[in-house]
């Protein structure tokens, strides 16, 4: 038999733990990884090119499809960049609604991450637990926008609709008895805010459940502790943001450092790791879910006690109400122009970023004064994270690749764009 030293393996693009369409070329020395070369772009849809050919508002829906597990956060960065160039104000209620849904989105994202990460490493039940709570949050998306995932809810100047006063309810079917349905509908009797409030009361206990399954679990620790260590300096060099950077011990969060919307009025903490391994990043994200829950609670309180407009009344940017369109000539013109041509944005170059569940999601918008973006660049947090994969898995075993891909929280919608 010839003496073979190293060989190359193709990991993905159809591997279930490649999180979508990652194709990894692994160079192995026995079971130890010498080099990992990620091939990306299998989900490239040319969002940036498409956006250049459409009026501003028509691209909001594309933003949902970037990171398709944290939809509203993507919209948020895009909408912020437009607002910044237009220099318009957003009503306070809209800001609180946005913050609330950003945090709901963060929980949604982290729940999917937790379920998928645990599943990859071999813990089946966490996935089922996490998706139980995800279902409730998806219902919030549905109640407010009509869709469970790709909401297209944020608009330049506010949000598209006010929060609904009723929640959709389950109906009795062949498979669900009246008793079961009544139990499911118990929290859905009031408004959306009541439902979210009920959720925030329930949720900390759910996080405890996930932690019971994982935090002190021997197998979980063996698979994550000291795996994929990134030092502070390297994390900065590699362009990490979000939980990946915080896991390495850098206390950096845009919500605190460069607050947008109403984050400066809200009370929450930023968890920071110490070792920069997969386990620390896991702990950071778990704590982030608890903190998000706290923020959602504060937003619900504010929204219950304060009313006001949910979108700017500047009809150059936002559509006038249906009643106005039918009675007022001027409103009819605004409505027509807005939906046939859109609005023009002053010439300029702007960068707006939000603390996305995965890191810093930024939008660079260059406008030449027309009704379409001249250049739109999305800064996907996952992109530099995946670029660092080679460095993170180097010297580890092949099974650790799965743990590292999981800890990076990779979603190809945003990386490939």
């Amino acid at each position: 038999m010839p003496d073979i030293k190293s060989f190359t393996m193709n990991f993905g693009p159809q591997h279930p733990s490649a999180h979508g369409v990652l194709r990894l070329i692994l160079e192995l020395e026995g079971e130890v990884i010498v080099r990992a070369d990620p091939h990306i772009g299998l989900l490239h849809r040319g969002t940036e090119k498409l956006a250049e050919s459409k009026p501003y508002n028509q691209s909001i829906g594309y933003m949902d499809r970037l990171d398709y597990v944290s939809m509203m956060s993507n919209e948020h960065a895009y909408v912020l960049s437009i607002e910044k160039l237009l220099d318009i104000d957003v009503p306070e209620r809209a800001q609180y609604i946005r913050v609330m849904f950003d945090e709901i989105t963060r929980v949604l994202n982290h729940l999917l991450w937790l379920g998928a990460h645990a599943l990859d490493i071999g813990a089946m039940s966490v996935f089922l637990y996490a998706f139980r709570e995800r279902e409730d949050l998806m219902d919030c998306y549905e109640a407010v926008s009509g869709t469970r995932m790709h909401a297209t809810y944020y608009r330049p100047g506010g949000v598209s609709k006010d929060l609904p006063l009723t929640m959709p309810k389950y109906e009795e079917t062949k498979w669900k008895s009246k008793k079961e349905v009544d139990k499911l509908n118990e929290a859905r009797e009031g408004s959306l805010l009541d439902f979210i409030e009920d959720f925030t009361n329930r949720f900390p206990k759910c996080v405890d459940e996930y932690e019971t399954l994982l935090t002190d679990n021997r197998i979980w620790k063996q698979r994550t502790v000291d795996i994929g260590i990134v030092s502070k300096e390297r994390a900065l060099q590699l362009g990490f943001t979000g939980p990946m950077l915080r896991g390495s011990g850098v206390a950096w969060d845009l919500r605190k450092k460069q607050p947008y919307e109403t984050y400066e009025h809200l009370n929450f903490d930023i968890p920071v790791g110490t070792n920069g391994d997969c386990y620390d990043r896991y702990l950071v994200r778990i704590e982030e879910m608890r903190q998000s829950n706290k923020i959602i609670k504060q937003c619900v309180d504010w929204l219950k006690n304060n009313s006001g407009p949910f979108i700017s009344d500047n009809n150059k940017i936002t559509p006038p109400s249906r009643d106005e369109v039918k009675e007022d000539m001027e409103s009819l013109i605004y409505h027509f122009k807005l939906f046939t041509e859109g609005y023009c944005i002053p010439e300029g170059e702007v960068y707006a970023a939000v603390e996305h569940p995965k890191g810093e999601f930024g939008v660079t918008l260059i406008s030449d004064g027309s009704n379409k973006p001249y250049r739109l660049k999305m800064r996907a947090p996952g992109f530099p994270h995946l670029a660092a994969l080679n460095e993170m898995v180097n010297g580890h075993m092949i099974s650790d690749v799965v743990a590292v891909i999981g800890t990076q929280d990779i979603v190809f919608g945003e990386i490939d764009r």
Partner: protein, 238 residues
């Protein structure tokens, strides 16, 4: 709102360095955090200074943005002037993706050079952002020095800019295409690359494999690009 503009103290540090060491740059710190450099000789000194100095250290390269300015300020619809038949219909003119670069007309604000790269830097220690913008010298064969040795995260960003714009980064360790297909031809984010692309794939029954062929659909524009300068002002006043 994310504050991009460096505060006065940081501005002074940056200005102080730029004025003493560099030849040709423009900034407008009042309105945005972009510093435009006109001389490529400044590239290496600026980048290495920003990454490593004791006053204001930009640890993270947040983003690297390629831009193609060849279509800048050109609208498809003349909404300013009308003749006795009314306004133009906005479908006659060639526009982005439907013309070649040589036929474009220049706009008053259009940069003289076609390609630019914007480096979006973030300083975690002093909570500041700055955008560094360099124009590429040669429009037909744009290139810039690579900064992978300064910020590791530049590796993939530069590959992306190369893939989508054809900007070559000199001394890059591994300048391959990254987002487009294996064997892709052209640079899709250039303004003279059509939105519908140049080729489409089809399954050939006789050859029993997927084949490439020229696109069979026609480019179309549903909403023409229009520039209305006067409305911009009204939006702000409204």
């Amino acid at each position: 709102m994310v504050d991009n503009i460096p505060n006065q103290e940081n501005q002074d540090i940056l200005k102080d360095f730029f004025e003493n060491n560099l030849s040709n740059y423009d900034h407008d710190f009042e309105n945005n955090s972009t510093v435009v450099f006109n001389n490529l000789d400044d590239f290496k000194p600026v980048m290495s200074y920003l990454q490593d100095n004791d006053k204001i250290k930009f640890e993270i390269l947040i983003d690297l943005i390629g831009v193609d300015y060849s279509d800048y300020g050109l609208s498809e619809w003349n909404a300013k002037n009308a003749n006795n038949k009314g306004y133009s219909r906005g479908i006659t003119k060639d526009s982005s993706g439907r013309y070649t670069y040589e036929t474009t007309k220049t706009h008053h604000n259009q940069p003289k050079k076609r390609f630019a790269v914007i480096y979006n830097l973030l300083s975690v220690s002093s909570n500041t952002r700055v955008n560094i913008k360099f124009y590429c010298d040669n429009d037909n064969n744009p290139s810039l020095p690579s900064i992978t040795s300064v910020w590791s995260s530049a590796n993939w960003y530069e590959r992306e800019a190369y893939d989508l714009f054809g900007i070559v980064f000199i001394d890059h360790p591994d300048l391959r295409r990254i987002l487009t297909d294996y064997g892709f031809i052209g640079h899709p984010l250039r303004k003279d690359f059509p939105l519908i692309g140049n080729v489409e794939v089809n399954y050939d029954l006789n050859k029993e494999r997927v084949v490439y062929q020229p696109v069979t659909i026609k480019p179309r524009v549903l909403i023409p690009k229009v520039i209305r300068g006067e409305i911009n002002k009204e939006v702000k006043d409204a």
